[in-house]
């Protein structure tokens, strides 16, 4: 077929032409995949073809090798690996040839495709000559080829794990890359490609950063590159520094003074994109040092692996003034743009991190700035002063901050009402919220909110909730933390006298015409939720009244019809918020017996509303309704069974919602809630639920994060229905056994995958526990005996792998106990033969984790009973 024309037609503005072309390309691909890929690579490599067809050819090639979806990606990888090797060689040759193309777009597409193939083949020990051939003549080639080669190396480092490249090749890559960055390189494209390649290659450079000479060289070149005349190169060089700060913190001491000088210069004088990265360097250092210091606190022995160099503490006198300067560079109306990010925002964020890292020391450095600017004529100065104050409220001790806050509070309250600038009011409300978040609590020694000022504070916040949406949103936030501070207040809350007024004001906010701006309505409902959650028994009657109000809101919201798509989206969002609100109310009222009984009068109506929610096709609304139903089931208990005939179909439908996998995950959790509430009354629905659970587990299209809770849910069902589970036993055990075999080993997987496998194992083990405990003391325990040997074997294998996390360890040793407890002497000899009953048990008995130890003691007891009979 004429590929060029098809590729051009596929980009036609005429829909019919486009469709036809896409169809013929698809047919070509289906009928002869190797031929198709070879044609595409030939197209990409041909200098005489139009640039548009070459670009699309490259793009289709890339998409034939990689996909976002995990399962699809695995398929594509397998497909490429099993392809005819002559075709693969031809494709690769064309791609490497394209790296020398004079056409930038063709080159640049080829670099990415080469990296994708490398990502597939290098881990399989295929294409071993690739890196060598890329580097072989890098010094002799023209600049554009050098640029493409460096770009390819950069993508390659991004695609493959550093374990699959030997150190010798890493050294060569780094040498080529760092040389390309060097100031002696006069071509800016080459320097930029080299700097970007270094950014991706830093993860490969462990050994090189441990070698003083090599590290010196790399660091010198990176620092030099930050002074390149080209802004993109400077920005990328700073990004390298940020990455180095995160990866090689311990190696930074000799360079930190120089880096401070470079970053200060950039923050003060460079373009914003560069200045942002310079600030990000210090934010990253803060992240590292807080992690290390937190580790210190948890580690009483004091021999933590990573030392803290206290770079931030040392840089403090210079760093703080630098950051304070940035606060004055606000953009007009940045508060109205949710995605805004500028130097003032980055500077304030960094200042907050510095405060968390250093604590009290920052306060005297910031206070003069605040005092000097807070009353100035220019709104920028007042806003910057307020922002600075808000930023340092987390970190320093309450002793240090409370007096300052007490002093500032009246001023802030008045500014919130009177300041002419919306920007200042926005930041003032936020700062009040931070004060309450970090310094106000019902058990604080000298409370910042007391009988004397509570009335005023609440009045001002409620008034401010009538201000423009962004200010009102921040005022809600302040009220949120004010309420949260009284979480543990006991029987009587200082909020009680204002409760009704607060609730009323929040409801009024939710009805504002402009409530959908600045996420105001969301803030108002979440604040209402927090006020309810933290309320005391004194206001229980008012919370009960709220039930009917929110139900009415939900009813009205569900009634609305003939909506535009924009309106429908807002309706769905509101539905979700209202269900969330009901969930909090149900949990609150359900937690004490007297209110629960009054509340349960509404149960029928509430359930009716929730069921109507399922008619709207919005994931968040479904998720919230499901969670609320879970809370309701728990509050009602076994009587919840009466809703199942109607509710069941929606439960089953959402268990099948693979597309919105979060909905599916939440629904699986709700099945568990219902099992615990209904116990054996769930039995009539178990056929359907179990079918669906097992179906989901065997599906490749369900997001993998749902699988661990699916396994646990099998355990929930078994716990609820006891030995009635017998009818599902064969299927369930079979599924569990296959999964157990698949996930017994983790070798060859990365950390993230190992963590996921541990989650799966935990789910599988929870299922086993549920089944054993469900069958305990029943006459049907003998049906479990045939599975004992496999389960013990699974325990032994994951023990031998030595890669369990604490959660899995606890669940696993519990299963050993459950098995012994339920099967008793029937399993005695099997247990005694297993490694788990000795070495694993002993290891758990001496664990530092009390939960593991408790489960292990239980297992030991159960085993000794089983073998003594």
């Amino acid at each position: 077929m004429e590929v060029t024309q098809a590729l051009l037609n596929a980009q036609s503005i005429d829909g019919t032409v486009r469709k036809h072309a896409e169809e013929s390309l698809r047919q070509f691909q289906e009928q002869n995949l190797p031929g198709f890929l070879v044609s595409l690579s030939g197209e990409l490599a041909s200098e005489d073809k139009p640039v548009d067809s070459r670009k699309l050819a490259g793009l289709i090639l890339k998409n034939a090798l990689d996909a976002k979806d995990e399962n699809r990606k695995r398929e594509l990888v397998q497909r490429w690996l099993s392809l005819d090797s002559a075709a693969k060689a031809q494709v690769k040759a064309c791609l490497l040839q394209t790296l020398s193309s004079l056409v930038l777009e063709a080159r640049s597409t080829a670099t990415q495709v080469v990296a994708k193939i490398a990502g597939i083949e290098l881990p399989q020990k295929q294409w071993p000559e690739l890196i060598g051939s890329l580097l072989s003549n890098i010094h002799q080639v023209p600049a554009h080829v050098k640029q493409a080669t460096l770009e390819t190396l950069g993508y390659l480092c991004e695609e493959v794990s550093h374990e699959v490249v030997d150190q010798d090749q890493v050294n060569k890559i780094l040498t080529a890359v760092v040389q390309g960055m060097n100031s002696s390189e006069k071509n800016n494209d080459v320097r930029l490609a080299a700097t970007r390649a270094l950014y991706n290659a830093l993860g490969f450079a462990q050994a090189n950063f441990s070698n003083d000479m090599e590290r010196e060289y790399i660091m010198r070149v990176v620092c030099e590159t930050t002074m390149s005349p080209e802004v993109k190169i400077r920005q990328t060089a700073f990004e390298c520094l940020v990455s180095i700060a995160a990866m090689y913190y311990v190696k930074l001491a000799p360079y930190i003074q120089d880096i401070y000088n470079i970053t200060a210069k950039a923050v003060r004088g460079d373009e914003e994109s560069v200045a942002l990265q310079a600030i990000e360097f210090w934010s990253t250092i803060c992240d590292e040092e807080t992690d290390i210091l937190e580790e210190y606190v948890g580690d009483t022995t004091g021999d933590s692996d990573i030392p803290c160099f206290y770079f931030i503490k040392q840089a403090l006198p210079a760093l703080v003034p630098l950051l304070l300067e940035t606060l004055l560079k606000q953009e007009e109306d940045q508060d109205l743009d949710e995605g805004a990010w500028n130097i003032a925002m980055a500077g304030g964020t960094c200042l907050g991190l510095v405060a968390r890292t250093t604590g009290d020391d920052i306060v005297p450095l910031v206070m003069p700035f605040i005092e000097e600017n807070i009353t100035k004529q220019d709104w920028r100065q007042r806003e910057a002063a307020t922002y600075a104050f808000g930023s340092i409220l987390e970190g320093p001790s309450p002793d240090k901050l409370v007096p300052l806050v007490n002093h500032a509070l009246p001023f802030m309250l008045s500014a919130l009402v009177k300041d002419p600038s919306n920007h200042v009011k926005d930041t003032t409300a936020w700062t009040l919220g931070r004060m309450f978040e970090f310094l106000h609590s019902s058990i604080v020694g000298t409370p910042i909110i007391n009988e004397g000022n509570a009335q005023q504070i609440i009045t001002v916040l409620l008034q401010s909730m009538k201000d423009v949406p962004n200010v009102a949103e921040k005022a809600c936030g302040a009220l949120y933390f004010l309420a949260q501070g009284y979480e543990d207040v006991g029987l009587t809350s200082p909020i009680t006298p204002f409760f009704q007024e607060i609730v009323q004001s929040l409801l009024t906010v939710t009805h504002r015409e402009d409530a959908t701006e600045s996420r105001l309505r969301t803030a108002a409902y979440e604040t209402l939720n927090e006020v309810v959650r933290c309320s005391t028994d004194e206001t229980a009657p008012l919370v009960l009244q709220l039930v009917a109000v929110i139900m009415m809101e939900l009813h009205k919201c569900l009634e609305a019809q003939n909506l535009s798509s924009d309106e429908r989206e807002k309706q769905s969002e509101l539905t979700g918020l209202l269900c969330g609100c009901l969930q909090v109310i149900i949990q609150k009222l359900g937690s004490s017996e007297p209110t629960k009984y009054v509340f349960l009068q509404y149960a029928d109506q509430i359930m009716g509303l929730f069921i109507r929610v399922f008619a709207c096709r919005n994931a968040t609304a479904h998720e919230e309704a499901m969670l609320a139903i879970g809370a309701l089931a728990y509050a009602i208990g076994p009587d919840f069974a009466k809703y199942l005939p109607e509710f069941y179909q929606f439960l089953e439908a959402d268990l099948q919602n693979f597309e919105d996998y979060q909905v599916c995950a939440v629904t699986v959790g709700v099945v568990g809630d219902i099992c615990r509430a209904l116990e054996d009354k769930i039995l009539p629905y178990c056929d359907g639920i179990m079918t669906q659970l097992l179906k989901n587990l065997s599906s490749d299209n369900l997001h993998r994060s749902v699988k661990p809770p699916l396994f646990s849910c099998i355990g929930d069902i078994a716990l609820a229905i006891g030995d009635n589970f017998n009818k599902y036993l064969t299927y369930a055990m079979n599924t569990l056994q296959i999964a157990a075999e698949m996930y017994a080993h983790t070798s060859g997987f990365d950390l993230e995958m190992t963590e996921y496998i541990n989650n799966l194992r935990n789910g599988i083990l929870e299922a086993y526990s549920g089944i054993f405990q469900g069958f305990k003391n029943s006459s049907k325990t003998q049906f479990l005996i045939p599975y004992a040997s496999h389960i013990l074997h699974f325990l032994d294998s994951i023990y031998m792998e030595k890669d369990m996390d604490d959660v899995v360890m606890k669940t696993a040793i519990g299963v050993l106990g459950d098995l012994a407890d339920t099967l008793g002497s029937n399993a005695a000899s099997l247990i005694q033969q297993s490694l788990s009953s000795r070495d694993f048990l002993n290891e758990c008995l001496t664990s530092d984790d009390h939960m593991i130890k408790e489960s292990a003691k239980w297992a030991k007891l159960a085993i000794s009973r089983a073998i003594s009979v």
């Binding site: 922002y387 309450p398 058990i443 543990d488 017996e593 615990r676 929870e766 009390h850």
Partner: protein, 518 residues
């Protein structure tokens, strides 16, 4: 495609909207609640009445060497100190600090086979934990504090006494206003306290623990019923019957017992059955109320349908107590001809056949009480499958079972007596049982050091000597070395037995004995 895949990192601004984070936190919380409930359900299933079976578990403590124990002790003192300072701390996050400190202590107290209770007490844990139980404290804190106290209460009796100051608060949190996990944990702690010592039981009763625990047993919520019943069974176990008398009179308790024995799962039923055991053992009022309700029938049904040893033990003992305690049980409820009576005898046979020694013994005891009933009762047992089993047990079972079996067989051979008159024989039963070889078993009992068993043996020998037709009695007794057995009592310190044995020997084996054979 100028800068594909190369985008600069941007972190979240410090100044952000409250709504997003709050919503995520709320949903995560809702999901976590479910996980925690699963966890506590499994935990409760595992820990319920561990070690109540007759298999005494010897959990050797080879894992814990002395040095570790001393580290544990110092960690415990430190944890109590930390808890003190967490309570004193008034800053932000104080709640988390306190719960964290409580968890730490609770973990230490759950750690070894020898929990460091003493160190905790020395460091002043009880006062500080009591403070954590103060009214209005959040549930998480209450739960952890009660849990710590539960573990302390599991220590030795002296240590348990140290809990005195905390008892009123633990009792206060049993009320309906508390969440079920908190109430259950408090019940658990109180159950541990009550289990140890009569004095502590009295304190708990004076402080009013009985009524709220009884109320917890009323609704049908598995774990609550189970825990409350367990705690109650400890609380009322006497020996003073006052608590048992009070409990049965609490409104709804009798109904709840009936309901749970009808519907509850085996584990809950087990705990409820233990309550019935102590009620029926101690309180005549309770016994009579229970007998008049459906309880006997329900207990028989449970025994028929369950194979759980843990359940069968208290059920069987309850049955025995009720039958022994109130003649109404035997004469009216279990009257011959009713299906329930046949069922009762069938389940006893099931238990006699069981491998479990404790079931055999209890079943024999129950049967002996039924066998003490009317002639019709005796005929019913005699004609049942029980007799061959009993005969086998009399020859081969451990001593305590043999003794119970002897009571049954003895009772089968005598009719009920009125006043002081000598027991009248049921000759058919006696002859047949002796023919089937039960005499050696009784004579064996005569030789035992147990006075009661010896008396049983002598009584049966008397029946044989007196009752066997054609004067065959003495001959049979002599053949089985009965004379020798009785002569052991010639100088026995127990006057009663001495007289009895000597007069039998004198009467049946006196100077004239054997003359006609010569």
């Amino acid at each position: 495609m100028a800068d594909p895949g190369f985008s600069s990192t941007k972190r979240d601004p410090i100044k952000s909207s409250v709504g997003n984070a709050a919503g995520i936190r709320r949903r995560e919380h809702a999901v976590t609640v479910g996980k925690e409930r699963r966890e506590s359900l499994v935990r409760a299933k595992r820990l319920c009445r561990v070690g109540i079976s007759d298999v005494e578990v010897d959990v050797e403590s080879d894992m814990m060497i002395d040095e570790e124990q001393s580290i544990l002790e110092s960690q415990t003192s430190l944890a109590v100190q930390n808890l003190k300072s967490a309570l004193a701390y008034q800053g932000k996050g104080a709640m988390q600090k306190r719960v964290g400190a409580l968890q730490k202590l609770r973990r230490l107290l759950s750690r070894s086979e020898f929990p460091p209770v003493e160190s905790a007490l020395k460091a002043g844990a009880v006062a500080i934990l009591a403070q954590c139980l103060s009214f209005g404290s959040p549930d998480e804190q209450l739960l952890e504090a009660a849990w710590c106290l539960t573990n302390i209460a599991a220590g030795n009796p002296e240590e348990t006494k140290a809990l005195l100051p905390a008892l009123p608060l633990l009792i206060a949190h049993l009320g309906e206003k508390s969440s079920s996990p908190v109430a259950e944990q408090c019940a658990w702690a109180l159950g541990n306290v009550a289990g140890d010592d009569e004095e502590l039981r009295n304190v708990l009763l004076i402080q009013g623990a009985l009524i709220p625990l009884a109320r917890m047993m009323l609704p049908y919520r598995r774990s609550t019923v189970r825990t409350a019943a367990w705690a109650l069974s400890n609380l009322i176990k006497g020996p003073n019957p006052k608590a048992a008398n009070e409990l049965i009179c609490v409104d709804g308790v009798l109904d709840a017992i009936v309901r749970h024995l009808t519907k509850a799962d085996d584990e809950s039923a087990t705990e409820v059955a233990w309550v019935v055991v102590y009620l029926s053992a101690l309180s005549n009022i309770a016994t009579s109320m229970l007998v008049k309700s459906d309880v006997l029938q329900l207990l028989v049904n449970r025994l028929a349908t369950s194979n759980s040893l843990q359940l069968m033990i208290p059920v069987l003992r309850s049955l025995g107590n009720l039958i022994a305690g109130d003649s109404h049980a035997t004469y009216t409820v279990l009257s011959p001809g009713l299906a329930v009576t046949d069922n009762a005898i069938q389940v006893m046979i099931k238990c006699l056949k069981s491998e479990q020694r404790v079931l055999k013994k209890e079943a024999a005891w129950v049967l002996s009480n039924i066998a003490a009933g009317s002639v019709e009762h005796k005929q019913l047992i005699y004609s049942s499958e029980a007799v061959p089993l009993l005969l086998h047990l009399l020859s081969a079972a451990p001593f305590d079972i043999r003794k119970e079996v002897a009571y049954i067989l003895g009772n089968l051979c005598v009719a009920p007596t009125k006043g002081d008159e000598k027991s009248s024989l049921i000759l058919e039963h006696l002859v047949s049982l002796v023919e089937k070889g039960c005499l050696p078993g009784f004579i064996d009992l005569v030789r035992s050091a147990d006075i009661e068993a010896a008396r049983l043996g002598l009584q049966f020998i008397e029946l044989v000597l007196r009752g066997m037709p054609n004067g065959k009695g003495p001959k049979l007794v002599e053949q089985e070395d009965g004379i020798e057995a009785m002569e052991r009592f010639q100088f026995h310190e127990n006057e009663d037995l001495r007289t009895m044995a000597n007069s039998l020997v004198d009467k049946y084996f006196g100077e004239d004995y054997g003359l006609d054979e010569l």
